[in-house]
């Protein structure tokens, strides 16, 4: 088992899948409340990447320090997008498409600010701030990179906390009620705006954590978000876009297929295939929409089992 994980491809697959799970959980959380796909979501993660760079290279401490900071800052940025742009637009009755364009515009602003930050870091501190990696700042655990253990464990902790909050606490119940029927929840005295705001903060915060973790294994760049957006949306769509469980399954599925699937296909057909890896999430989106448009969680598994005659 351990020798398996020594093949760097498995390390890649485990870390990448963990990150996609976090990102698509956050995206699903924001989509559940406002029902608008947020195209700026991946750039929240890029903020985390740069905070990790600042923490390790400028403050000269561990990149792990950046995790809580990234949670707060990315969360605040997501909250700002909701409060100052989406909320007024929704109040004015703007269509879904207009709201989506607003998130695209916000993404453009974030990308510009991240690039400005990158330029500034390079100029003032003489630090490489594009296509950099912080692998050497990560510790070792059992002779393997620490991130390999931290990423999945952190994701298990976050996912179970989130599920406990949603199922057991009063706030979580209020949140689920708001997702189910915002008008009715408002009538019974739930502060719908607050619930929406909290889920946007959490969604952005989770993306920030994913970004801070990402920098310790993959290359960081201001345009990272733009490259990852199809994968995150594919994970969410495969998961059904309406459930946190779905996002977890979708993230693992897309992450594993992107890395292990590409490796397998490249072995079968030749290494020229590796460059086409970004097409895998697109394929997943198309197939999911054609076969089961409501995603894995929307499939009636009882009927599928009956179809194949293995009812038990």
């Amino acid at each position: 088992m351990i020798s398996l994980a020594y093949d760097p491809i498995f390390t890649d697959a485990i870390i990448y899948s963990s990150l996609l799970v976090l990102l698509s959980m956050g995206l699903t959380l924001t989509y559940l409340t406002t029902k608008v796909p947020n195209f700026a979501h991946a750039s929240f993660a890029t903020i985390g990447v740069y905070l990790a760079l600042i923490a390790s290279r400028i403050w000269e401490s561990s990149p792990y320090v950046a995790i809580p900071i990234a949670f707060v800052i990315s969360g605040a940025v997501a909250l700002a997008l909701y409060t100052f742009i989406l909320k007024p637009l929704i109040r004015k009755g703007a269509s879904k498409a207009i709201q989506m364009i607003a998130t695209l515009a916000f993404d453009l602003i974030l990308i510009a600010l991240l690039n400005i930050t990158a330029d500034y870091i390079t100029k003032n501190y003489q630090i490489i701030s594009r296509e950099f990696t912080l692998r050497s700042y990560d510790g070792l655990f059992m002779d393997m990179p620490m991130i390999l253990f931290v990423a999945p464990i952190l994701i298990i902790i976050i996912a179970s906390t989130l599920l406990i909050i949603l199922k057991k606490t009063k706030f979580g119940i209020a949140m689920r009620a708001t997702i189910e029927n915002p008008d009715l929840s408002g009538v019974v005295g739930i502060n719908v705006r607050l619930v929406y705001g909290v889920s946007w903060f959490l969604g952005g915060g989770l993306a920030g954590i994913a970004g801070a973790l990402m920098s310790m294994w993959f290359q960081g760049d201001p345009n990272l978000g733009a490259l990852m957006i199809p994968s995150i949306f594919a994970a969410s769509i495969v998961g059904g876009f309406t459930s946190i469980y779905g996002a977890i399954v979708g993230g693992i599925l897309i992450g594993m297929s992107e890395i292990l699937g590409t490796r397998f296909l490249a072995g079968e057909f030749g290494s020229w295939l590796i460059a086409y890896r970004p097409l895998i999430p697109l394929l997943f989106i198309v197939v999911t929409l054609l076969v089961a448009p409501r995603g894995l969680t929307g499939i009636n598994w009882y009927r599928v089992r009956r179809l194949f005659g293995t009812r038990n």
Partner: protein, 346 residues
Amino acid sequence: MALGTEIIFIVDLLAIYAIYLIINSSLNLEFGYTGIPNFGKVLAVGVGAFVAASIPGRILANMAGIEGDYIGDNISIITQVNVWLVDNTGIGFAVFFLTLGIAAGVGAGLGLLTAYPAIRLRGDYLAITLLALGEGVRIVGNNFTPLAGGTLGVQVPDPLSWLPGELRFPVATIGLIIIAAIVLLYTERTVRSPLGRTLRAIRDNEVAAESIGKDVTRIRIKTIMIAAAIAAIGGALYAFYVGGTIAIAYDRTSWTFWPFMMILIGGLANNKGVLVGTLLFVTLRKFIIFFKDSLQPYVPFDVVWLDFLLLGVILIAVLLYRPQGIFTEKPTKTISKEGFTDKQKG
């Protein structure tokens, strides 16, 4: 006759204006009139450019009897083709129009393919799918070298190579303006026709449109195909105008986001909005690029990001404070009552 800097500036501005007019009127047909959020506009534009990159050069090299690997020896082959075209102007134009036709056909086909999985689903799913598939065009173009030379790009033959150097760009610009005018005329006539009213009906109330017997899915697919064909022509024209194609240039910001911004500033669902919004945007960007170098010494980062920042803020401000844009959509001009009664009498 040497052209002054101002003339070159205006000629280039008008050419880009004409190309964006073509792309924006196709987007307006989709988004403004029919309400299809095509966040993958770059796909059709890129496909048009790839057609222009891969087909006319090969046809002409074959006709001129030029040997060699089209991608590997691209620059020398295209240079020879351009020399050959000086004496074969007619063939040059024929291949040029043939390319536009192929681009339109391939664009329409890919429009159908990309829209098909999500056309029946809610608008946001369609938007996500089109955006994601739009990213695919660059990935394929970047890696599949026979198409457009991959990361190195290829040159596109110049049907105007017989013109003296300083006249080439002004003449090309006039040609682009004529084609843009034809496209605008076509979209204007389309939206005034019964089909145009059906499109608005689908946008405003899909269920109501369906209840009076309109096949909403079919009409939406048709609209996407027509719009993709027009946008592909725009992409091919851009490739011909700049004389080359490189996959990396077909990014989401330039060919999806800017067109959306232009039609939103001008005002959705009217061609006056497209004309003015595009002009405003293209001029603003041209000036930003023009004055970029003089601003560079004063800021500690690349000025191009200031441009992105400014445009992002402008668009959000427009969406928040003037969502209808400069020109509001007006009811369609129909035949006057007198005209109608005259027709009935006659």
